[in-house]
Subunit: 225 residues, 2 copies
DNA sequence: GAATTATTTTAAGACAATTTTAAGACGCTT
DNA sequence: AAGCGTCTTAAAATTGTCTTAAAATAATTC
């Protein structure tokens, strides 16, 4: 399961260094280059960890952390900072950070500190499914497209879950009806079509972005492009 | 609830400094002055946190940590160290430590780092819970909206506490019934609805101020807006 | 310890959202 | 162009939630 990390950092050099290094460790990375953008992304999507620079244009790193913590008290936050006064460290930790790394830092140390955060949370981690820009968190029962929360009904949710769990495989109509609707004998209904239709609409998977394709005469397939 | 901390440190000066300072913060302290004693005490009693010196007579701090981690993967461990090579830091974290403080350290920073560990483990530790304009003090059993004191019954209070402690997460009806009503088998009752209704009324969370949202077919979610 | 008050639970009708049905439009295949 | 399968839409059926009020239970008061 890919871990999603948001990096909020204004210096392009450091940002690219981090992104590249962490992607090589197969973390999924998104970035923001100032406090406002960072806070927005932090709040509008779900993350496994936040990496925030202390000095940022716009809202300061500490304020981003504090305001993020008001909403989410779980997701670990690590600060990157050039400062190293004890007072700043304490303020950072008081703002709700879980850890704190001084620049210049070794990439290996950063990696270890990230792993420490994940290690202590591993038991709690919820399973996430993704399909292109779509991400669904089964446990908290929420679905996002990019950073936008999409509201699905129960059946829409069940159908999407089934399709994504079988990503890359063709799902026959009979299989879908059995698994999602729990109907095990004859079927002559158009429900599936109706729900596929509304999924495509709500998830904005129109025309070109054909993540859920129709296999004529058989069923549907969810696939990465 | 008193937090129990075990300090493993061979220098008597530092040991007393730590013991005294932490006892003033009303932590319950026990100590060990070498690695063998430390490991034995660590394993033979239950602790909320371990504070271990890196350099110890007998078994090294790192080995104490590693062997403790083999048995207990939950209890947070913080290292105290005079060394500050990156390599040592990484080894400490790899041995299963949760954090790492360099000597000489400020006592305030140590305190903050201890609190960080407790905070991330015990969402229960804070007696003050908030949701938008709502503030509840668990200990004094009072709830405010802005500065206005709101009188809630026991069950209303319990339900609100449960929802806010799980802020941002969907609370399924079955989970609510289990946690708040302590009913562990089948449930077909409308109590939850009734209480949600009266909470929304008393807290004046009508229409727009949708801090407690309904997730149809699943349950409810308390979220900041 | 009986009476009063407050809290919790049950129940039922009103209401709102979801799910299903159905039917015509559309598009692919032969 | 005919035929079949899929898409799209709207209305009907169903299910879940809201809101009340009354009944049952627990806690206070006299």
């Amino acid at each position: 399961m890919a871990m999603r990390i948001l990096i909020v950092e204004d210096e392009p050099g450091i940002l690219n260094f981090l992104r590249q290094g962490l992607e090589e460790e197969s973390y999924v990375i998104d970035t923001a280059s100032d406090g406002n953008e960072g806070l927005e992304k932090a709040l509008n999507s779900s993350w496994d960890l936040l990496l925030i620079d202390w000095m940022l244009p716009g809202i300061s790193g500490m304020d981003v952390c504090r305001r993020f913590r008001a909403v989410d008290s779980q997701t670990p936050v690590i600060f990157l900072t050039a400062r190293d006064t004890v007072q700043d460290t304490i303020m950072g930790l008081k703002a709700g950070a879980n850890d704190y790394i001084r620049k210049p830092f070794s990439f290996d140390e950063l990696l270890e500190r990230i792993r420490v955060q994940f290690r202590s949370r591993e038991s709690t981690s919820s399973d996430q499914l993704t399909l292109g820009p779509i991400r669904m968190d089964i446990h908290s029962h929420q679905v996002y497209r990019q950073n936008e929360l999409i509201s699905l009904t129960q059946k829409e949710f069940d159908l999407l879950e089934y399709l994504i769990r079988n990503k890359g495989k063709v799902c026959r109509r009979t299989s879908i009806i059995e698994s999602v609707w729990d109907i095990h004998f004859e079927y002559n209904t158009g429900v599936i079509d109706v729900y596929i239709n509304s999924l495509r609409k709500k998830l904005k998977l129109e025309t070109e972005e054909d993540y859920i394709q129709t296999i004529r005469g058989v069923g549907y397939i969810a696939r990465e492009l």
